[in-house]
Amino acid sequence: MANQLSRRTVLGLAAGVPLSLALGSCGTSGPGASSGATYWFLNGQPQEGIRTGAVDRFNKADPSEKISPTTFQNDAYKTKIKTAIGAGQAPTIIWGWGGGTLRTYVKAGQVEDLTSWFDQNAKVKGRLFPTAFSAATVDGKIYALPCETVQPIIMYYNKRVFDSVGARPPQTWGEVMDLVPKLNAKGIAPFSLGGQSRWTNMMWLEFLFDRIGGPEVFQAVFDGQKDAWSNPAAIEALTKVQDLVRADGFIKGFSSITADSNADQALLYTGKAAMMLHGSWSYGIQQSQGGDFVSSGSLGFMNFPAVDGGKGDPSDTVGNPAQYLSISSKATDEQKKIAKDFFAKGVLDDEEIKQWIGTGGVPVVKGTQDLLAKDRNAEFLKFTYDIASNAKVFAQSWDQALSPTAAETLLDNISKLFQLSITPQQFATNLNAVIGQ
């Protein structure tokens, strides 16, 4: 989904954002400023329409409770919401990605503890994927409601390319490395990658860490264990990535390609690259921009291959388990009540579920198989649903799971690792230094 991409989109305008937003927020939309709750989320169709629609239906159902939504451009939002919360001007309902950022809100006492509310409203909790709650939980308490769609990272491939080369998609890491010279010899890049965006490179590490050492390797980092990045499995995964870079596994010039321009997607559907590791939202982009690529059945998809001798379960996955809604602790009681009623009645109602499926997304709600099977994208939707519901471990993307401080160091070092300008050992040393920050 384009929206997911554009949240990482980089706009030069961001330079002016902090000041103009800080000024713009003076005197407006403060807590208690007006009756009714406020709700900020991202713009961009079709997602914006679905979000607004849910609010409209909620407002219409009970005119005494009103939510006024405000939409923002992706990157602007990330800075704006942080600035607003820091200035005590947060909206009642805070839209976000959970994980490390949510943790910083919790540590600052800015978001409402929803644990007891979920206990009283077991039905709300029970209908959602249980795996989605880990990114909403801090120190055993739940601070956010998982919403919208589940977004695992998927290995996409171009069936036309594989047919023309006479090969089949790799099932193991060994087969990946065997395929690389074969594809390069034909003038086709094995993997497309928008390397300048950095989080795109990170997806490779997330999977290799899991497949080689199991989920415990990154969990140790997340738990703040000393020198967790120096785990032999971690070093092996980092080395494997550099081996793939050295073998020309990624498209020429990958470090100057950004994901937000969708150039990496284009490389796959134009057949310049054979495979691409990307989020489930990529499907919608391929469908809308790739001509008949998706409708002709040329887009293949599978889970990340197993690594020979690795400890991890090849059914594990990573990505965004959901999007998340929190309630500002600075909101008035009346606003909090409206927000909670919205969580119970408005979020992911039948209409919203239907609309998410229409965009090629799988809502985080259990038991939607029948609806998914009826859609024109049934095959892909079933695949995503199965991955999300069968994965023993659905790890959250590292940059979302970690605190913003640690995530920034991580992303910086990942880009250096892919540039081959640091060794796996240096990578581990640099990151060990920020563990627990």
Binding site: V10, L11, G12, L13, A14, A15, P18, T79, K82, T83, I85, G86, T104, Y105, K107, A108, G109, Q110, G195, Q196, R198, I251, K252, G253, F254, S255, S256, I257, T258, S261, A263, A266, L267, K272, S403, P404, T405, A407, E408, T409, D412, S415, K416, Q419, S421, I422
Partner: protein, 308 residues
Amino acid sequence: MATTEPASDPAARGTRTRRDRGGVLPWLAAPALVFFVGFAVIPLVGVFALSFTTWDGIGAIVPSGLTSWQAVLTDPGLPHALWVTFLVMVASWAVQTPSSILLGTFLAGYQRHRAVLSVVYFVPLLLSSAAIAIAYKALLDPNFGLGAGLGIGLLSQDWLGRPALAFGLVVFVVSWQFIPFHALIYQGGVRQIPRSLYEAAQLDGAGRVRQFFTITLPQLRYTIITSSTLMVVGSLTFFDLIFVLTEGGPADATRVLALDMYKRGFQANLMGPASVIAVILVLVGLVLALLLRRLGGRDASQSQLEGV
């Protein structure tokens, strides 16, 4: 012409100016002063105060003494960012100054076609940095850009993916954007040079090149200092273009100080260390501006026509 207008009587004008200086003039500066204090002085003090905290931008602001200063000053990333900033400054000055002087001198002629040309040359300055960066990025894309489209191998380099190329490209694009502005300054400077100097030189048999080096260039001395000050101090604020073009990459090759500040503050939530960088930026800019003023001598801001 002037003598027919009573208002331009030298004596009357003189008295009014004296009165204005004593009474109304300072008040005319008040709005500017209010904005300067509100948008420059107060934030500056705020940033300085923040540099002694370890605020994450969200929670409470807790003073932490010199922790942030220590963190930044011992960070090996700081000398690197300073070095890159310095390199960008020097390289973009070295590229822009000669080109703008030549272009400005050329455009200072009064022939009609030059007016058209100077409008054309001016266009890059009208575009926003973000738009320029996005356009260059699209043109230079190794797989879908100009080089790949026209089948020119030389052009389809991994421009933004290799440290040296990316650095050169940043300097090139910055120069492309700002040469028009400095050419305009030089155009004005050249037009201020009295024609009599050239006429005298012509009588002495000096050719165009000789005229340029013995008259134009020395007469432009103060214009060069003005323009260089703008370039050098301005280069400290390069942010948007580099942010969109390379995001500081590949592997920190183009991570200038201003970008470093943004990344620490707004991406890594380290407002304290980011404020330290901001303070360092202010200091570096101040020192540079003062140095350049020294270089220009005390009379740099005086009219160039005096003493001719």
